[in-house]
């Protein structure tokens, strides 16, 4: 894999389906510390990819790099989404291109109500789900629409973060531990939703500590360890491969 593929034309790495989101030789730093160490992987249109690994493996860092956050700094590598060079964009441009990140700490904006948090997502084009549709998915949010977002319960905040991402018209949804803090019934609910939006053609990358659950949902899995990729393959493979699970996922 020393030859740089031509992503702009939808070329792929070793896979048959065309790559939709391509990460190529990504190297990301927090200040001086080298966190994501030269990783490459592909995500295909409409699939769900599970990005797994221990605490501190660099999962969040990878997602943040793809979403083009200021921190970490990407010092090398390319990211292409649907022939568009994300690595040349800043986070708002990436978002307008169709990337949505549900951050691990939810990042509900203080000072705004639930409703305003969603409206905020609908200011810049392209707009996705309507407020009503989000409330339909999470009736809880509808009940709390006038409440300040940060006073929501932990799980409600998680719903808001996901709802806010869906309120934009997205191509790729990056979920950083979406099940965390959610009641099991709600997790079921979200899982269903993810399957629905998958059918609508939205591509999803999901980071989750509840690896089994994620793998059951996902088509493919990528496992990270100390900033490098140690596995890239189908989700079922991981579920079957005891050794792999024991070594990198401890399950």
């Amino acid at each position: 894999m020393n030859v740089k593929p031509d992503f702009s034309k939808g070329h792929n790495l070793a896979e048959t389906a065309p790559a939709y989101l391509s990460i190529w030789e990504l190297q990301a730093y927090y200040g001086e510390s080298y966190i994501v160490q030269n990783i490459s992987f592909n995500v295909h249109e409409g699939e769900i990819l599970a990005l797994l690994g221990r605490n501190g493996a660099g999962k969040t860092t990878t997602l943040r790099s793809i979403a083009r956050m200021n921190d970490p700094q990407v010092q090398h590598g390319e990211i292409w989404l649907d022939h568009k060079p994300l690595h040349l964009m800043s986070s708002y441009e990436a978002s307008q291109t169709g990337i949505a990140l549900v951050p691990e700490d939810r990042c509900i904006i203080p000072g705004l109500t639930v409703e305003e948090n969603i409206e905020l997502a609908q200011i810049a084009p392209p707009v996705g789900w309507s407020k009503e549709r989000v409330y339909e998915l999470f009736p809880r949010l509808g009940e709390r629409r006038k409440q300040e977002g940060v006073t929501l319960s932990g799980g409600e905040q998680q719903m808001l973060a996901i709802g806010r991402a869906l309120a934009r018209d997205i191509k790729v949804l990056l979920l950083d531990e979406p099940y965390e803090g959610l009641a099991p019934v709600i997790v079921d609910e979200i899982e269903k939703t993810l399957r629905i939006i998958k059918e609508q053609g939205i591509t999803t990358v999901i980071v989750e500590q509840n690896a089994v659950r994620a793998l059951e949902l996902a088509d493919r899995a990528v496992i990270l360890d100390t900033g490098g990729i140690v596995f890239d393959g189908s989700a079922a493979e991981v579920l079957e491969n005891e050794e792999l699970r024991a070594e990198y996922l401890a399950i």
Binding site: A67, M69, N70, S90, S91, Y92, E93, S95, Q96, A100, L101, P103, C107, I109, P110, G111, L112, E116, E119, L120, A121, I123, A124, P125, R164, R168
Partner: protein
């Protein structure tokens, strides 16, 4: 009543100056979260826009008048403004006379430019830095701006009168049925009050009836996330900064006829405007405006002899005393938002 009323009027116009300055400051400080010690300098630059325009309109050519002598006994140099020469003393003179109101327009591009350069070139890099760093860098900038103005215009105050027709005063008392000559009020101060009311209303409307305000507030609370939602927050911050600069500049432009501008007028207002903003409550525009008028009126009352007889010198400390009382009784000032600049 004839003692109280004039002081309310005085308080209103003092208050409108405070409110206008605090409004601009709170856009930058309470909304963008930058402790902008250069805000006073923006006010001062505004005032010097008036001075400059009046200087420009007064550009003159020089002739010698042999019939008179100057202080060294040489023929006197007489200056005639080009405007008068070109348009005749009638119209040309009127233009010169109207330099302050014209400066409102004149100042817009200048203040926007100053605001843009300041934000793009400097403040942009300081949003995430500690407040202490913001203080130092904007204080440094304020000093530089101030010194530049001093270098160009000198340290002396420069009279910049209002148009002739607004120079007089109106006998309010007589209109309301009091004795004449008791409650009088200069036209220009009245104009200043209405002007600031319009500007304040305009800014409110802009932030209230557009989503702009919400976005900027959100961006201030969490830039990253707002960026994640596809919003170019940097551009909006820049616009906000430019608006604040224009508001500060206008406060200065219109203030020029009230008190002759000098290069350190910004610093004179600086501390006071911070007090006003904080007393109003961080992040609250109505708070800043309310605090401005409140403190203006209280200050006026405190300067009444009857009040000073109760406590000698109260007029010197009233603002600070009231600020302390308000901040102790209301944790976040009059209408402060929770969590804004509380750590």
């Amino acid at each position: 009543m004839d003692v109280i009323l004039p002081q309310i009027l005085n308080g209103l116009d003092k208050g409108s100056a405070y409110a206008l300055i605090a409004l601009g400051l709170t856009l930058i400080f309470g909304t963008l979260g930058v402790v902008n010690f250069a805000h006073g300098a923006l006010f001062m630059i505004g005032a010097f826009c008036s001075v400059s325009l009046s200087r420009i309109l007064n550009l003159s050519y020089v002739t010698e008048d042999p019939t008179q002598t100057d202080f060294l006994g040489k023929p006197l140099k007489v200056e005639t403004p080009y405007l008068e020469a070109w348009f005749g003393p009638e119209f040309g003179g009127a233009l010169i006379d109207w330099s302050v109101p014209l400066a409102i327009l004149f100042s817009i591009p200048i203040m926007i430019l100053v605001g843009l350069v300041m934000e793009r070139g400097l403040i942009k890099h300081f949003y995430k830095r500690p407040h202490a760093d913001q203080i130092l860098v904007t204080f440094g900038l304020a000093i530089i701006l101030q010194e530049l103005v001093r270098g160009i215009y000198g340290a002396n105050p420069i009279q910049t009168p209002a148009p002739d027709m607004f120079r007089g005063s109106i006998d309010f008392g007589a209109m309301l049925g009091f004795d004449p000559n008791v409650i009088i009020y200069p036209y220009w101060r009245m104009i200043y009050f209405f002007f600031s009311a319009v500007v304040i209303g305009g800014v409110f409307a802009f932030l209230q009836f557009t989503t702009f305000g919400m976005v900027v507030r959100a961006g201030m609370a969490d830039r990253e996330t707002v960026g994640l939602l596809g919003i170019n927050i940097d551009r909006r911050f820049t616009i906000m900064f430019a608006i604040a600069a224009v508001v500060a500049g206008w406060a200065g432009v219109m203030y020029a006829p009230i008190n002759a501008p000098n290069y350190h007028m910004g610093m004179d207002f600086l501390v006071l405007s911070f007090v006003v903003v904080v007393v109003g409550g961080m992040g609250s525009l109505p708070g800043a405006v309310a605090a401005g008028f409140l403190l203006g009126i209280l200050e006026s009352f405190a300067s009444m002899t009857a009040v000073k007889e109760i406590l000698d010198g109260i007029d010197q400390i009233i603002i600070y005393l009231v600020a302390i009382i308000i901040l102790l009784t209301r944790p976040r000032g009059l209408m402060g938002k929770k969590g804004v600049m509380e750590d």
